[in-house]
Structure formats: structure tokens, C-alpha cells
């Protein structure tokens, strides 16, 4: 390696040293790093632009929104769109409905999933691996494959067109995932504390409540958030099992939003709605960034 460089260097030592000096100067260092930072900038813009566009459209009054050429910044920012959307009865209902559904699904999944995770993660018994694989295979279960049967089941239980239908059916994707991730959290705990508790005469359930559950609290928060997001974002079952607009979830409300005129698609208001629906998720995701990444990779990489 050095020999090649030397051979190349010998005929024009002056040239090379000048180049080298240039490369070491701050300006040279900047130039050398330029492609890298350019790439970073491109990724940054690519990831955020559609969301920026939604925000900018939400703050733009209709008189500036439906014009060509397109304006890239809102020159007269306004809150009208947000006010309009939030005063719509159907959208208010949708926010409440989605909150009810996603919260119930999350709480139930966590409760059942933590027990199962405790069993798989801290006990040795025959069939443990089989149960774990069953849960893993459930995470790739195509929801469309059971739509017909769920549809008739839900009708038979008189749950059609009710939030209960969604709470029940969303367990298909939140529960297996919760079990899987919480098992990996339970497994990661050291055994000492548990043993100490047993020596002190605690029952397994006491160990679960008083020792293990507090220890995996961060895991519960992460898993809960992921389950909440999955339920909040669901569309297929909501579209199939809900009929009356008062019972719409946010995904349904956003895709059917009509606005007052019903003439031109009210894109400003729709974008305001998308921002309202998305912002809490983004904030929560960014706050819990590190843990979410750990949870996601536990769910995927370890498979």
C-alpha cells in the first residue's frame, strides 16, 4: 500500500503535499464530509417532508391552499382548519372511540400478556417452547384470513357496529406480540431477587406482583405503547365491523371526512385532522425512542 503511494508521490512531491495540506484544512475537511452530510440531509428531508406538508397544509387557509403555483410556506398561517375539524361532532366521537378502543385493548393485552410472559419466561415446563412458537407464528397471522368468520361471530354476539367488536378482534394482533415481548423482558431478569422472595415465603403470585412486575415496568410501558399504536392505527376491521359514523374510529373518520361544502375535498381540514391524530403518537414515540427501538428489535431480531 505504502509502496504504491510512494511511487505515485515521487515525481511530484510538491503537488501531493499541497493537496494534503488542502485536505487537512478546515475547508478541505468540510469538502470531504460534504457528500456524507448531503446524504444525511436527503434522508432527513425524505423522512419528514410528507409530515411537514400535512402541517403546512393544515395551517394554510383555503384561499392559499387551492392555488397554483403551490406555496411552500403558509404565508398567512391560520388555526381555522383545526377549529373546524375539532368542532365536527363525528371527529370528536372518533377521537373518544379510538381512545376507548386502544386503551382497553392495551390494558387487556398487558394484563393477560404479563401473566403469560411470567409463565413462559420464569417457569420450566414441557410445552413452553411450543407456546412461545405459537405466539410468534400468531404475529404473522394474516387478519384478512379470518374476516368472514369474525364477521358472523360478531354479529351472533350482537357486537356488530359496536366498539366491543373492535376490542375483541384487535386482540388477534396485540396479544401474541405482547406475550412475545414481555416474555423476553421476563427472561432477561436475574433470578436472585425472585429466589430471595421465595425464601422469605412469598407465593408465586406475590413474586409476580411485588418483585417482577415493578422490574419490567419499563417493558410494560414500551409494549403498551406499541400495542396502543397498533390498535389506534387499525383500519381493516374497523371498516368491516363499524357502520354508524358516531362509532367511527379515527382512521375511519379521516378517510370519510367530508367537510361542510361537500363540493371540494376539504384538504386543509383533513390535514389538520391527520396532524391531530398523529402528533400524540409521534411525541410519545420520540420520548420513549430508546425503549421502543429495544422493544421492536426484541420482537423482530431475536426471532
Amino acid at each position: 500500500m505504502s509502496t504504491v503511494a510512494e511511487r505515485a508521490a515521487r515525481p511530484q512531491p510538491y503537488e501531493l503535499s499541497r493537496l494534503r495540506r488542502l485536505a487537512r484544512s478546515p475547508w478541505g475537511r468540510f469538502l470531504r464530509k460534504l457528500p456524507f452530510w448531503l446524504l444525511i440531509a436527503i434522508i432527513f428531508v425524505y423522512a419528514l417532508f410528507p409530515f411537514y406538508w400535512a402541517i403546512r397544509s393544515a395551517f394554510t387557509p383555503d384561499s392559499d391552499l387551492f392555488v397554483t403555483p403551490v406555496k411552500y410556506f403558509p404565508s398567512h398561517p391560520t388555526l381555522t382548519n383545526f377549529r373546524e375539524v375539532l368542532s365536527t361532532k363525528d371527529f370528536q366521537h372518533a377521537l373518544i372511540n379510538s381512545t376507548i378502543v386502544a386503551t382497553s385493548v392495551t390494558v387487556i393485552s398487558l394484563a393477560i400478556g404479563a401473566l403469560a410472559g411470567y409463565a413462559i419466561g420464569r417457569f420450566r415446563f414441557r410445552g413452553r417452547a411450543a407456546v412461545l412458537y405459537l405466539m410468534l407464528s400468531m404475529t404473522i397471522f394474516p387478519q384478512i384470513a379470518i374476516l368472514g368468520a369474525l364477521y358472523t361471530m360478531i354479529t351472533r354476539f350482537h357486537l356488530y357496529d359496536s366498539l366491543g367488536a373492535l376490542i375483541l378482534s384487535y386482540m388477534i394482533f396485540t396479544l401474541p406480540f405482547t406475550v412475545w415481548v414481555l416474555t423476553s423482558f421476563m427472561r432477561g431478569l436475574p433470578g436472585d431477587l425472585e429466589e430471595a422472595a421465595y425464601v422469605d415465603g412469598a407465593t408465586p403470585l406475590q413474586v409476580f406482583y411485588k418483585v417482577l412486575l415493578p422490574l419490567i415496568a419499563p417493558g410494560l410501558v414500551t409494549t403498551g405503547l406499541l400495542a396502543f399504536i397498533a390498535a389506534w392505527n387499525e383500519y381493516l376491521y374497523a371498516l368491516s365491523f363499524i357502520q354508524t359514523p358516531q362509532k367511527y374510529t379515527v382512521t375511519l373518520a379521516i378517510t370519510t371526512f367530508q367537510g361542510k361544502s361537500g363540493f371540494q375535498q376539504p384538504w386543509g381540514e383533513i390535514m389538520a385532522a391527520t396532524v391531530i391524530v398523529t402528533l400524540p403518537l409521534i411525541v410519545a414515540t420520540l420520548v420513549l425512542q430508546r425503549r421502543i427501538l429495544a422493544g421492536l428489535t426484541a420482537g423482530a431480531v431475536k426471532g
Binding site: F51, F125, M138, P142, I144, L175, T251, L286, I292
Partner: protein
Amino acid sequence: MSVAPVPTRAVVKRRRRSRLQRKQTTLAWILLLPALAVVAFVAFYPLGKTIYYSFTDQQFLSGLQPTKWIGLRNYKDLIHDTDFRNSIWVTVKFTLITVSFEFVLGMIIALVVNSNFKGRGVMRGVMLVPWAIPTVVAAQMWKWMYDDVFGVVNDGGRRLHLLHHSVAWISQPNTALGSVCAVDIWKTTPFVALLLLAGLQVIPGELYEAARVDGASPLQQFYRITLPLLRPAILVALIFRTLDALRVFDVFNVFFGNRASTQTMAIYDQNTIVGVGDVGYGSAISVGIFIIIGLFVVIYTTVMRVEEE
């Protein structure tokens, strides 16, 4: 007088342990019971029922006519169903396009973000943003961006002289599939990148140092160190993405409703069951989808097993 065998200490211990073991096993299954019951009730029971329905003429409003066992008729119809065949083709095309783009772009992003620079944490947060946006919401955002008159895609394209005139991206047949793919690629690439990034960070840095000492070029380092060690993460990312793409529903529904030419398998199935109300035939489609997805799982797991050996 026979002497009762006095249990040795080891035997007592073993017996006690086995009793404890049995108690533990019982408790474990009790703890598992709720989870297993829910899974059985919301997944396995409906799955069995779907298979049963696929042999009947079950309609959604079955009060009018009793359900009849019709044998394989639904499946015979399914084989000759050009709409279904077309939906498979659309879904497979969508899957191939999105998964390959997401993988290549995701790999590039992961490699860039993996290098040490100020603001790496911020970048990782930025990459989570598209992932956190609900698919339906993302689809709406892009639908507005694609607007043929006031959309930013047309405006930007014209400003950059990439387009001569506005394009109706969603309604034109030759750009329709590409426009949905772009939404999915945008939403999921960062997630793929994050998965690969997690895999990259486990690779010890000494390997690269040793390679550099031996005079390996960055490209050689990538092919000889990064790719082989990243293989498990790559395979997992590919499997998850493929299976996800095969059941795609949300974006297509928001963009096209159930327009026949751009129907995915899931769209066609949902419309047959809920829109038409033909639960029997829809269930046969469901079984078809299940088999197709199962086929992909088998292919992937075989590849993985071969890799392991």
C-alpha cells in the same frame, strides 16, 4: 419384620423437586390459560370456521336462506376467477417492488446513520416519525400530495423540470401502482433501516480495524464482514416485510377503493365478504390467501435453515 425402606436424602430431594416441578407446571399452565383462551377464541376458532364456510354458500344475511354444504364449488370458481388472479398479480408486484426498494434504501440509510456523527440520536428519532404515522393517515397525506391540480408532487416535478405537465398519479393506470408503492416505501424504509441498524451495532468494531490493517477496501469490508454478519437481521427484516406487504389493504383502500384493476388480495376478499356479503366465497379467498402467504413462509424458513447449515 420387613424394614421399611428409609428414603435417602437424595431421593427425598428428588421427590420434593418433582412435586415442586409438577406444582410449577400446573401453575404455569394456569397463568397461560387466559392468553391461550383468547388466542383460541379470536384466532383459531374463526380460522376453523373460515375453512368450514369456504365449503358452504354462507351469506352474511343468512336469515333468508339456509346455508348449504356445496363442496368444492367455491374453490372451482376461485381457480377460474380472473379478478382473484389479477389481485394476486397486483399484490405480488407490490410486494416485490416495495420489499426490494425498502431493503436497498434501508441498508443505505442504516450504513449512513451507523457511522459516528453529531446528531445521530436526532436522526434515529426522525426515522421513527414515518413509522409512527398510521398507514391510513399517511395514505391521506400522500393522496393530497399527489393531487393533480394543487399537489406538491406535480408542482415540485414541474419546478425541477422533471414533469412537463401535471399527472393524475392515482387515477392513471400506469402510475397507480407506483404511487402506492412510494407511500409504502416512504413509511416502512426507516423501520427496515432501524432493524438493520440494530444488527449493525452488534458487529464488533475490531473486525473492521483488522480488515483495514489487512488493506481491505470499504467495499470489500461491506461484502466480507457486514453482509455475512448482518444476514440474520436481513432475513428477519425481509420476512416481516414480505408477509406484511402480501396482506396490504389500507393504502390501496384509501387510494383506489375497490377498483378492480388495482385490487390486492385483501381488498378483493374484504369487498366480497363485507361489500357483497358472500361469506362463503370470501372464505375460500381467505383460505387461498392463507395458502399463498404460507408458501412464502415455507420458502423463507427453508432458506433460513439452509443458511444455518
